[in-house]
Symmetry: C2
Subunit: 306 residues, 2 copies
DNA sequence: GCTAGCCCACAACGTTCGGTTGTGGCTTGC
DNA sequence: GCAAGCCACAACCGAACGTTGTGGGCTAGC
């Protein structure tokens, strides 16, 4: 591909060969192989060089794009000045939406979003420099953050109840936490020992809920399918979580009140991380932070004040 | 790259090898080479398979994107169902802007824009099926379109005068064609025999202008640079042409009146071209066509009625 | 109209790359 | 403790891809 682009720019194979530090014959061969693979002629050979055919013209921007993408791919793992690497707890949740907004506001900042197991892994990765920041609920009690890690409350995501159409609460405009006692709430995939498990443990303990984490986690598609079809099951879902709605299903999102359980995403980063985009991310957070009203909401006691 | 993506999805090299119909050892080798080239570890090898490292997680979406781009590149020259291929006369002119609008309105339609020499080439390419449509001024007198080619007036692009700040007309809010007689208008790159040359020939003959096509065409950057710095030179430029403004220059776009010369872009296509997106393009043209007012405008006599 | 210059394609050849088979080490689970 | 599963290393072999050498075809200039 690179040979094709260089040859197209040069207008002749000879110059392209010089640019690539190979022989003209090698360029000729590479182009011939590419043409054979594609099944079309890309250049018309003349005595003065090689001009693009119409197919070649159509192909050229795609080839350039491929080189750009390849370069970005390499840059994403380059030591030193690589894209800002941020860990988010759920790929479709509020933190992920915030990063989308950040990307829209600063499209020039290269960004990679990864998705680590839990806050322990995230903190280790932040300390090692493998990632630059993380959106997480801060560590559970007895596990304070190391001194070189800073954190700030970033987004609070209210939880909603997600039910199928036949669920007893399907018609409710909102439900209280007290009303949920006795109903089965199914959240497969919760792994004990993680900070998100600790969040739901506290929620269960404080309001007497029944959360079942049993069964293997087959992904959100399977979860939604099951919830939609099972009248006795409901699940919790972040209000800002973008669902991929299963086709043909009728799912209900019901706000939870008195209080509203809120999942607290803090931004974590290492104090001496020199990545320039980190400051931009902080500025973006400050700029987009809505006025917070903690009245009527619940977070675990181990989450620090704002 | 494909091996990396397949292995990441499979979670182990063995299964990836089966998917790719190669041996596990080959997968191991390919990944090892990729890791060596990138200088980072992409997988952590365990007894149960291979899990992505953080670098691998960051790299994965880029790798997927690369495969997508590669597939689109191949599709762009695939015989049969390839993207709609449209020829536009200037890469930044009105027709090009229209295609951008079409792409925004129908992002699902794959599109390739090419850029042929003149209408003769374009008609030949349309007849051969190499391209699907072309935005062109219809053929000059004595050169009717072949019977299998249809055309419809699509966009009229008014010409404006482009001058530097020191030009005699730089301060004018508008100029008439009669006022331009005696001024030097420089349009390098006009090639005799093309339909666009015929347009300017007629314009010169009818209004007694002085258009100089001398000198090699070093591209629009050089043209703008020269016009900006030379008080005695001006040039014509389509009103809807998106310029890449040279840094530090002060260029003026001055409307031309009495009459306003208008470059007529017709859409040309082959009657029996079966490409489904062609109908969508027609519909888009009809939907976006503004009400036309031909009063006070000029086009060559050989351009048919609307 | 011939020739010199330029550019690309074809052929022959050697190295390198990338696949295979064979094997061993490590972890996990019964 | 052993069997099963998975990955890495080594040896080997063929294909791929580079090189050098050469020829054909178009163009420009005398």
């Amino acid at each position: 591909m690179r040979t094709f682009v260089v040859a197209a720019d040069a207008g002749q194979f000879q110059e392209a060969a010089a640019d690539l530090s190979i022989t003209q014959q090698a360029v000729s061969k590479r182009i011939a192989v590419l043409e054979k693979d594609l099944g079309v002629r890309l250049f018309t050979r003349t005595a003065r060089g090689a001009a693009l055919t119409i197919d070649g013209q159509a192909f050229l921007p795609h080839a350039r794009e491929l080189l750009r993408v390849a370069e970005r791919a390499v840059a994403s793992v380059r030591a030193g000045h690589r894209p800002l690497r941020v860990d988010v707890i759920a790929s479709r949740g509020a933190a992920s939406g915030l990063m989308r907004g950040f990307h829209r506001a600063h499209p020039e900042i290269e960004l990679d979003v990864v998705w680590l197991f839990d806050i322990e892994t995230a903190v280790a990765a932040i300390r090692s420099g493998a990632i630059d920041a993380s959106f997480r609920a801060v560590a559970a009690p007895g596990r304070p953050l190391p001194g070189d890690i800073e954190s700030v409350r970033a987004i609070d995501e209210p939880l909603q109840l997600l039910t199928g159409p036949a669920h007893a609460l399907a018609g409710a405009r909102s439900v209280t936490l007290a009303q949920l006692a006795g109903h089965r709430i199914w959240m497969p995939g919760i792994v004990p020992g993680t900070e998100w498990a600790a969040y739901y443990d506290d929620l269960v303990a404080e309001f007497g809920l029944t959360i079942e984490a049993t069964g293997p986690n087959f992904g959100s598609d399977a979860l939604l399918d099951t919830v939609a079809d099972t009248p006795a099951l409901a699940t919790f879902m972040g209000a800002q979580t973008r669902l991929v709605w299963p086709a043909g299903h009728d799912l209900r999102r019901i706000p939870v009140t008195d209080p509203t359980p809120v999942y607290p995403h803090s931004l974590l980063w290492r104090r001496d991380n020199p990545h320039p985009a980190l400051a931009t991310l902080h500025a973006h957070l400050a700029a987009t932070a809505a006025g917070h009203d903690d009245a009527g909401t619940w977070v675990p006691h181990w989450v620090g004040p704002r």
